[in-house]
């Protein structure tokens, strides 16, 4: 047994450069693999799949200020297959077109859904401009539902400002569904579409609201404005739509001006365009804009609707499938030079709307003229109906409360079935 060698390294750095080259290569490879993985995970999950156009931008309860957006040029390529990162590179009209189709638009509540208390959330909608807020690559952009840009600003949202933010790739983006409330210059976040590059489209509202509540607070987005955070973000109080929740949403004071109530089905995914799984309802107590106004801000004496002219002369709503409100004869079309696809404005005359078995049978329409160029879509059926009801027999808050009560009673009612014991 020979003595053991006890030499130690002398005047030498412990690591050879060759070893370092190997290690740096491995590090680079590991980083590249991570990037590839991230890329795959995001690309795979964040394509915002677009349904064929079915949304109704007029569904927004706010009176449409007849802002004339720039004329849209001929569509060059269909932007519908882009993800938001690619879409954010779109310019002008292309960008507007794309973003206009990304919002989930509530239908108007024309009857009360079953299971309101079990399956639905309710919250008071802030009055203001509905918009998408996208933060990525060190900047934040808000876009109105017609696609035009509202603000470009630094924010505390993930990658929303050019600050040293160690968490995650600068490429990843976050998309919030917000309402910008002018009076306090605050973005009220009503939904979350994408968080740090991960799409929440396919998640239930229940999960999205949970995520919204737990994640946003970590970012500092609720902090008061500062150099790297120009606008404050805020959440709206969301309630389970039971009796107390509904009363709270309806009567509790909030820091913003209310514009109706929004109802979200807990199990519904974030679906772009019109959906019956999100509903808007309003009355004079919770909104200044129950009945539509015209371009001068006046409530017209007769309800006005915008319908789309089909090639067979039918006048239809924007819904898929269309609901037919009436028909123009060919003669009139020729004389007035109207053609298929035109959006036409009508007044509902004294004959009103007639129904048979709950379906629209006849509408007494009076032609007013072509609609404003800014309009992209006809009115939806639910909007026409809500407006009609608002003028004749509105759905009252008591009806909603009664519906909740009756469903509770039904649950509490002892079962009629009696098991036979002989």
């Amino acid at each position: 047994m020979a003595p053991h060698d006890l030499r130690r390294p002398f005047k030498r750095p412990a690591i050879s450069d060759q070893q370092r080259r190997r290690e740096l290569s491995l590090q680079r490879q590991a980083q590249n693999r991570l990037d590839a993985q991230h890329h795959a995970r995001r690309l795979a999950s964040t394509l915002l799949f677009l349904q064929p156009p079915q949304s109704d931008p007029e569904a927004d309860p706010e009176p449409d200020p007849e802002i004339a957006p720039e004329a849209e040029p001929e569509q060059v390529t269909s932007p519908s297959e882009l993800d938001v990162r690619e879409a954010s590179k779109l310019k002008g009209a292309q960008a507007r077109k794309w973003f206009a189709r990304q919002l989930m638009l509530p239908e108007w509540m024309i009857d009360v859904p079953d299971q309101l208390a079990q399956d639905w959330y309710v919250f008071a909608r802030p009055s203001g401009k509905r918009c998408f807020v996208v933060s990525t690559n060190g900047t934040t952009v808000s876009r109105l539902r017609n696609g035009s840009m509202l603000h470009r600003f630094p924010s505390a949202l993930p990658n929303g400002a050019r600050t040293r933010d160690a968490s995650g790739s600068a490429q990843s983006y976050t998309i919030l569904d917000c309402i910008f409330h002018e009076a306090d210059q605050t973005y009220y976040v009503i939904d979350m579409v994408c968080w740090r590059g991960y799409s929440l489209h396919d998640c239930a509202a229940e999960f999205r609201f949970f995520w919204l509540n737990s994640k946003l607070v970590e970012t500092g987005a609720f902090d008061p404005p500062s150099q790297y955070h120009r606008y404050r973000f805020s959440l709206v109080p969301v309630y389970n739509c039971d009796q107390s929740g509904l009363s709270a949403a309806y009567t509790e004071p909030v820091p913003y001006v209310k514009d109706g109530l929004l109802f979200y089905n807990k199990h519904a995914h974030y679906q772009t365009g019109n959906t019956p799984l999100a509903l808007v309802w309003k009355d004079e107590n919770c909104s200044q804009y129950v009945i539509d106004t015209d371009s001068k801000g006046q409530v017209p004496s007769q309800q006005q609707v915008v319908l789309e002219l089909q090639d067979n002369g039918n006048l239809t709503t924007s819904d898929e499938p269309h609901v037919v409100f009436g028909c123009l004869d060919g003669d009139f079309m020729q004389k007035s030079g109207l053609c298929c696809g035109n959006l036409l404005r009508f007044a509902i005359s004294n004959g009103g709307l007639s129904f048979l078995d709950g379906k629209l049978e006849k509408a007494d329409l009076h032609y007013l003229g072509k609609s404003n160029r800014a309009r992209a879509f006809a009115d939806s059926y639910s909007k026409v109906m809500f407006q009609y009801m608002a003028r004749h027999s509105p759905l009252k808050v008591d009806d909603l409360l009664a519906s909740i009560n009756s469903s509770i009673e039904q649950e509490n009612k002892p079962s009629d079935d009696q098991e036979m014991v002989g």
Binding site: R8, N32, R33, H267, H269
Partner: protein, 871 residues
């Protein structure tokens, strides 16, 4: 059954090559034809006192080599071969071996000792040969000293071969008793005492229980300490070796003895012969190692009750220990800097002083400064060198606050010594000390920079000047420049080195061209420094880095022009090519990391690739590792354009994957496959059959170094991600391999730290493979092909979660796989996922992790799962 082999064994040692060759062939043939008879013949030869000692020794040596091998697979084979021998044959061989321990010839005894230990190494873990230890111990009481000596030696070898848990405590006690008695001063025969002392060195690992018993420990320590005072140098040396071993194995038991040990070691350092003095210094170095480890653990997480407490032996010994070590520094040998293998008391003492500084920090500074001040200007070079070395040694450990004022004063002196000192040895140490200053006290993190605009120019001028000095000094100057460059953080917009960049690069290239650049690894140091200068360069100097590309390419081209090289020249050519490819790799990686420079670099890509291919062609059977690494960097920079090189490059890629022997080459090539996958994406498809076949072959081979397996699994993931659903045809081969590896790596009970680390890297590779495969199939029509594998994968995640021994990386990858599985399989796996533990507890644990990468992956998984189960 045994045959007469004496003559063949003697012939096998003949000086006549033909005779020797013939004998070796006969032995080989004999072994192949009849192994039992071969073994019996050899053991019979070894045991026979009438035979010549040369043939006996060789017989034993052949036996020993037939029982063990360094290489794991071969070792396993040999063990199996022995185990399957007929029991009667084995018994006869063992009898011969034990009998040889009483032989009068010392060489025969010693050889037999080693063979016995090898057999024991195989049999004791299998609970065979139970009578061995008993019969050895009975030998101890035999009168002839040679038997006693041989038996103690056998016990020593046995303890080296066998793991402590294969020997029961009763036997351990008896072995230790016999060994320690043999070491005792009362043992008159010094051969016996030496054998016993050396045996104890190996037996210390068995003595856990005995070291916990105060009486027994006191006794062992007393005997060891007494042995350090023996009149025999070899016994003193062996006894100090025991102390060194005790210092690390039983650190926490040393307190009662440390004062005595200090006295003994101090005396040895001052007065004893060098081999003994070196061991005595090593004792303190080893204590430093222990305390540095303990204090590092304290720094991480001082819970007060975990692990071994620090006894601060070094802090207590400091006032006496430091002067002792400083004194050794004056005992330098002439020319020790030119001798690669040199190790003497001055080197050991200086190294120990450096460790002491790391252990105690600031406290060492006032104890060393007077020595430096007193000696640094003395006329005798030994004093100046020792003072400089002492200064260099204490630069790591003490706080920058403590050192910076001293360094600011010393820097000017050092720079002037490096230029003007007449002694090479002093200049060598001075340049090394400057390197240490830059390594530990210069960088963006320090508050008061020691390098300023005022002295930067002078420092660089002096270092570049020294690169023209003798090779060992020039090499140290390169090293200093390496750390100087490293201190200027990468990524900063501008660097103080920018004005000197051209000059530095020129000086380094000139150094590589020196006639004597092969000495003192100067050429290597110069290229490595060039690499670091490139790595730390900024945008300002990017054009100059670009200019370096054709220069290095030209150099590489020149190495390819040589005709008919001798084997020495060939070796040098290969080394220089390695350095140049390494340099190109660093340059490519640097330029490839930003778009504008990458774009300009790509104009050279064809030429660079052409050169790499020619470097490969220089060799017949192996590929050049450095060229392979450089190609990985090139693939990353080139992206999809790399496809045009594939037809020519592919054969070398395959060659690299086949290179089991040089496993580093194999591992590097596997990494390059990953680079190419990411660069080419689905354009790699035509090459995948070949690559996958080779990778699968590698995994099934027991010759493959285990460290290559994890990267191969990760590489499956890279390939799957690149080619998507085309991975389908490999599923039936890859999945079972992953599955069985997963089962093996799921449980780690009783594994040591090394094994734990390996297991985690294996898990990470397996999980990366799963991630890549799932993501590759995402949005394909064939996702249902993966459904059958989901239960097992979820089970694997659950079981590694249950083990609670994942490292952070595995945790991140594992939770990512959970997300990928949910993402790709969607509602198909919804209920499976909901049943798994991973989707609840594990996921929640990851969601609340402090590590943001884990958290990010967990958030992804949570989203993917919520989508999968809500659809």
């Amino acid at each position: 059954m045994a045959m007469e082999v004496t003559q063949i064994l003697l012939n096998a040692q003949s000086i006549d090559g033909t005779v020797r060759k013939h004998a070796e062939d006969s032995l080989k043939q004999f072994q192949e034809q009849n192994l039992p008879s071969f073994f019996l013949s050899l053991s019979g030869e070894l045991a026979n006192d009438d035979k010549p000692v040369e043939s006996r020794k060789l017989a034993g040596l052949i036996l020993k080599n037939a029982l063990d091998a360094k290489e794991q697979a071969r070792k396993y084979e040999l063990v199996q071969r022995w185990v399957s021998l007929d029991a009667a044959v084995k018994a006869q061989i063992k009898t011969c071996l034990l009998q040889t321990l009483s032989a009068p010839a010392p060489d025969a005894r010693s050889t037999a000792s080693q063979v016995i230990a090898k057999v024991a190494g195989i049999e004791l873990p299998q609970k065979q040969w139970p009578e061995l230890i008993g019969s050895l111990l009975s030998n101890i009481h035999q009168v002839p000293a040679n038997v006693k000596q041989a038996t103690l030696e056998t016990l020593g070898y046995l303890c080296e071969e066998v793991s402590p848990n294969c020997v029961d405590q009763d036997h351990v006690n008896k072995i230790l008793t016999a060994v320690v008695q043999g070491m005792n001063a009362s043992e008159g025969n010094s051969d016996v005492r030496l054998a016993a002392t050396r045996a104890l060195y190996n037996a210390l690992g068995f003595a856990q229980a005995n070291f916990s018993n105060d009486m027994e420990r006191d006794y062992i320590m007393r005997v060891v300490c007494e042995a350090t005072l023996s009149t025999e140098l070899k016994i003193r040396q062996a006894a100090f070796e025991c102390l060194v071993s005790i210092s690390s194995t039983y650190y926490e038991k040393l307190a009662p003895y440390i004062q005595d040990i200090f006295n003994i070691t101090a005396k040895a350092v001052k007065e004893d012969e060098e081999p003994v003095a070196l061991q005595a210094i090593e004792f303190w170095s080893s204590i430093c190692d222990e305390e540095i480890d303990i204090l590092e653990d304290y720094g991480d997480d001082f819970t007060g009750d975990s692990g071994i407490p620090c006894f601060y032996f070094i802090k207590q010994a400091l006032p006496a220990l430091v002067p002792l070590l400083l004194e050794t520094l004056l005992k330098q040998e002439e020319d020790q800097d030119q001798d690669e293998g040199a190790w003497n008391i001055a080197m050991a003492g200086g190294t120990c002083l450096g460790l002491v500084a790391r252990t105690v920090g600031d406290d060492i500074v006032p104890l060393v400064m007077p020595f430096i001040e007193e000696n640094i200007t003395k006329p005798d070079w030994r004093h100046r060198e020792a003072a400089t070395y002492a200064f260099g040694s204490i630069l790591e450990g003490p706080s920058p606050d403590k050192l910076t004022p001293i360094v600011n004063v010393a820097l000017t002196f050092m720079l002037s010594a490096l230029t003007r000192d007449p002694n090479t040895h002093v200049k060598d140490t001075t340049a090394w000390t400057l390197g240490r200053i830059f390594e530990f006290l210069h960088g963006s993190t320090t508050d008061a920079p020691i390098i300023t605009q005022a002295n930067c120019q002078q420092i660089i001028t002096v270092l570049l000047q020294s690169m023209k000095d003798v090779p060992n000094v020039a090499e140290k100057a390169c090293g200093a420049l390496y750390f100087l460059a490293q201190g200027y953080e990468e990524g900063a917009p501008s660097s103080p080195l920018t004005p000197f960049f051209q000059e530095i690069v020129q000086a380094l290239l000139t150094a590589t061209h020196r006639e004597d650049a092969g000495e003192s690894r100067l050429r290597t140091a110069a290229y490595e420094t060039l690499n670091e200068v490139v790595r730390c360069s900024t945008d300002e100097t990017a054009p100059m880095v670009l200019q370096l590309v054709p220069v290095i390419m030209m150099e590489l081209h020149q190495t390819l022009e040589g005709q008919k090289l001798s084997s020495d020249e060939r070796e040098k050519q290969s080394e220089v090519q390695g350095l140049l490819c390494g340099c190109l790799q660093v340059i490519i990686q640097k330029l490839g990391s930003s778009e504008p420079t990458k774009y300009v670099f790509m104009q050279y890509a064809d030429q660079v690739m052409g050169l790499f291919l020619r470097v490969f062609a220089c060799r017949s059977a192996t590929v050049h590792e450095e060229a392979m690494l450089a190609i990985g960097a090139l693939a990353y920079a080139a992206g999809p354009d790399f496809a045009k090189y594939m037809p020519e490059f592919y054969k070398y890629l395959e060659m690299g994957l086949q290179n089991f022997e040089e496993y580093q080459v194999c591992a590097v090539t596997v990494g390059v496959v990953g680079d190419i996958c990411r660069a080419l994406e689905d354009k790699i498809l035509p090459y995948c059959d070949g690559i996958m076949t080779q990778l699968l072959k590698n995994l099934s081979s027991n010759q493959l170094h285990r460290s290559v397996k994890p990267p191969i699994f990760s590489c499956f993931g890279d390939i799957a991600l690149a080619i998507g659903e085309n991975f389908e045809k490999y599923l039936m081969y890859a999945m079972p391999m992953l599955q069985s590896a997963a089962e093996l790596s799921a449980h780690t009970s009783g594994a040591d730290d090394d094994m734990m680390e390996y297991t985690n890297s294996l898990r990470n590779g397996i999980l990366e493979a799963y991630s890549g495969i799932f993501q590759g199939f995402k949005n394909s029509t064939k996702t249902q092909l993966l459904i059958p594998y989901a239960p097992h994968i979820l089970q694997f995640l659950d079981s590694i979660y249950m083990e609670k021994d994942m490292d952070d990386l595995v945790m991140k990858t594992a939770v990512g796989v959970l997300g990928d599985l949910a993402d790709t399989l969607g509602s198909n796996a919804g209920s499976l996922i909901q049943q798994s533990l991973s989707s609840k507890e594990f996921l929640n644990e990851c969601l609340s992790s402090d590590d943001h990468l884990i958290k990010e992956s967990a958030e992804w998984a949570k989203l993917a799962i919520s989508r999968a189960i809500s659809v």
